[in-house]
């Protein structure tokens, strides 16, 4: 794969991450993988190198999408011995393996919603920042079962927040949209903060959407419990500096002023500021984090 094509692919992954979160991006990536296997035209002996090349690209995105990396590692192990002389049969077995991964991911999604529901109490006012599918689905489910609560949506750039606003409006969830820089004026109103993440690293960090670290700090300072939604696939073996957070330096022109600006794709949140990690089995309090990371 040419470097230019790799960079294009990474950018598409980042754009998806901004809109769908890590879980949603992983789902889209698996579905795309299946469709591209169906469409590819090659000889049977050419398929394996093509699949290997693609897996390596997916595993090395900037930043890494940890759930997808774990699924690709499992897929790599399982596909050994699947490549034969019959192209169609090989394609079918690869697609079956990918469909298994898709089912695993969907199953985890459902478990996360069940776990998330235990974190919402009656009359909660919850700050929501990221576009995490688990958080979105949890809020929808809570509304459907009739729990009374309110959501404060922190607006980032519209592309990132749009889906959350749509969901809240479409599902009739009591909500208010406020700019993220205006949170301090609402902080006394809220009593919980729900946040999604791309990965949790062994050095006690979480790779989160840009700006989340500031919101977490403000919540921590005001003793508002921070709930970090991170399913078991989001736990990474690699330390935070290996997660390849993308850095971009761009020249901007606003009005008559031209300036260079450096921007990162994600930020690191210190787990010391997080009160609960919400996993498939339920919310884990901070006291048990070390046990969790050791696993």
């Amino acid at each position: 794969m040419k470097e230019k094509d790799r960079q294009n692919l990474f950018k598409i992954f980042r754009d998806h991450g901004d809109v769908l979160g890590a879980h949603g991006t992983s789902l889209v990536a698996l579905e795309s993988f299946i469709r591209s296997i169906q469409d590819v035209k090659c000889r049977a002996d050419q398929l394996q190198p093509l699949v290997d090349e693609l897996i390596q690209s997916i595993k090395n995105t900037e930043p890494q999408i940890t759930p997808l990396v774990h699924l690709m590692e499992a897929f790599e192990t399982e596909m050994v011995g699947q490549f034969g002389e019959d192209l169609d049969a090989t394609k079918q077995s690869i697609i079956a393996l990918l469909n298994d991964k898709l089912s695993v991911l969907e199953g985890i999604g459902k478990q996360m919603v069940a776990a998330g529901l235990t974190c919402i109490d009656r009359y909660d006012v919850i700050i929501v920042y990221s576009t995490s599918a688990s958080i979105r689905d949890t809020l929808v489910k809570a509304r459907k079962i009739g729990k009374p609560f309110e959501v404060l949506i922190l607006k980032q750039d519209f592309t990132k927040t749009r889906k959350l606003i749509w969901t809240a409006s479409g599902e009739d969830i009591d909500h208010e949209v406020i700019p993220e820089y205006n949170l301090s004026n609402f902080i006394t109103k809220a009593n919980k903060f729900f946040l999604g993440t791309m990965s949790i690293t062994p050095d006690n960090k979480a790779v989160c959407p840009l700006g989340a670290a500031e919101v977490v700090s403000l919540c921590h300072l005001n003793k508002i419990p921070v709930y970090l939604f991170a399913n078991s696939l989001k736990f990474s073996h690699k330390p935070s500096h290996d997660h390849r957070i993308h850095e971009k330096n761009e020249c901007r022109l606003e009005g008559q002023t031209s300036y260079n600006m450096t921007i990162h794709s994600h930020c690191l949140v210190d787990l010391a500021h997080v009160d609960f990690i919400v996993r498939e089995e339920g919310p884990i309090p901070r006291a048990d984090f070390q046990k969790l990371l050791a696993c």
Partner: protein, 434 residues
């Protein structure tokens, strides 16, 4: 031509101001009108009588219908579906998007079409690592070709149809064949000269994967309007009604302007859109520009200036109908490439009428020559048509910079090919008619 000097000078100054974009086009035209009113060359009642209300009604009606239909998000939805159908094949991107651009341009205005299509094309091609310039230029050119096919597709056709009384059906019957041939020839030329860039990607798994991810991203990014089914059905039903009434014009006796404005009002009532908001989307400067130009040209006509031009310039070529038809086509084509084709068409209509009085040419062939020349000629340069300027502008906002020469490198040959096809078509049509 007594008292014609001042109107001529004012008209030429307005043309210079328009060509070099010295002031807003509506201001230029209306300032010219004001000079003629202040100097008593024409009084206000007479000036207003020169405005072709049929054209203004048709434009206002179609602008309103299109503004409401855009809010339904249906055209963006259509474009996103088309993007998915291409599966990232560069050749399919060119062909499928060109077809949708041509069809939309024929029934909406060209600028609306490129505003919908170009951002999606840029997102798709850039994400795939293709050169978006080729696709942007091709869609601009195709929108001008597609718009030539119908009465409502391009402003010169709206003006010709309204002022001359040609029907919607007449445009489709007479122009659709040459337009389809021009469309195919244009695409063939684009493919022939850029074959390397249209190589299939279906042997490259990583590229196929990128395309699938990209298509999902495009769905997320562009389908920002939630489709309101009732609103959509009302909008499409009214568009269908308008087209039905255009087609049955000879039966109902309703002119296109009356049809467009009636359907527009009906659509406003049944969709209950905020009229104040809607009015902000109407291009009032264009309508004022048209009104001012009608007055300026009306004065020139009254002072017999256009008659003089017709006799001393256009009819000097002799009375061979082939020469007259081809001259109108090529002069319109070349002039429209460098000047705005709207004032040119408004100026040419009285001239063509005078030419027809001296040399009757059957089956309105001279009008089709004017239409084909003015619409297809807009492709000659980047400034020849509004759709070109808007497309290049959208590309620039996406960091795709297209220079004047880059645009012309592709567009000049396509314009020449399409004008040659139009010449052949008109010659054969004339030969059959005589």
């Amino acid at each position: 031509m007594e008292g014609a000097l001042l109107p001529i000078i004012v008209f030429l100054l307005v043309y210079v101001a328009l060509t070099f974009e010295l002031v807003n086009k509506a201001v230029a035209a209306l300032f010219g009108v004001m000079v003629l009113l202040i100097t008593h060359v024409v009084d206000e009642h007479e000036a207003v009588s020169f405005i072709d209300t049929e054209t203004i009604m048709l434009l206002l009606g179609m602008m309103t219908i299109v503004a409401i239909l855009r809010r339904t998000g249906v055209f963006t939805l259509l474009s996103v579906r088309i993007a998915a159908l291409t599966k990232g094949s560069p050749l399919k991107i060119l062909i499928f998007f060109s077809v949708i651009t041509a069809v939309l341009s024929a029934f909406l205005d060209n600028v609306t079409t490129v505003l919908i299509i170009i951002p999606i094309v840029i997102e798709l091609t850039t994400g795939m690592g293709l050169d978006p310039k080729l696709y942007v230029i091709s869609q601009a050119v195709i929108s001008n070709i597609g718009g030539t096919a119908t009465l409502i597709g391009d402003p010169p056709n709206i003006i010709i149809g309204s002022k001359v009384g040609l029907t919607f059906n007449a445009f489709i019957l007479n122009l659709s064949l040459p337009v389809v041939i021009c469309f195919c020839a244009g695409l063939f030329y684009l493919w022939l000269t850029n074959r390397e860039k249209f190589r299939p990607i279906d042997t490259n798994l990583a590229k196929l994967f990128s395309v699938q991810l990209l298509l999902e991203k495009i769905r997320n990014e562009f389908l920002t309007t939630k489709i309101d089914r009732t609103f959509l059905i009302k909008g499409l039903a009214c568009l269908a009604l308008a087209l039905l009434l255009f087609v049955t014009q000879t039966v109902t006796g309703m002119s296109p302007g009356v049809v467009a404005l009636t359907v527009a009002m009906l659509l406003i009532i049944i969709t209950r859109v905020d009229v104040e908001d809607l009015m902000e989307e109407i291009e009032w400067t264009t309508l004022l520009f048209f009104s001012g130009l009608f007055i300026l040209v009306g004065v020139l006509e009254e002072k017999n200036v256009l008659e003089w031009i017709a006799h001393n310039v256009f009819l000097r070529v002799g009375d061979n109908p082939y020469v007259i038809v081809l001259m109108v086509l090529w002069v319109s084509g070349i002039v429209s490439g460098f000047l705005d084709n709207i004032p040119f068409t408004i100026t040419m209509i009285p001239i063509v009428k005078l030419m027809l009085e001296s040399h009757p040419i059957p089956n309105d062939i001279l009008w089709w020559a004017l239409s084909l020349g003015a619409c297809l000629g807009g492709n000659l340069t980047m400034i020849g048509a509004s759709a070109n300027i808007v497309s290049v502008g959208i590309a620039k906002r996406h960091n795709v910079h297209i220079s004047f020469l880059e645009f012309m490198k592709l567009s000049v040959v396509i314009t020449l090919i399409t004008l040659v096809i139009a010449s052949l078509f008109l010659s054969i049509y004339l030969w059959v008619s005589l």
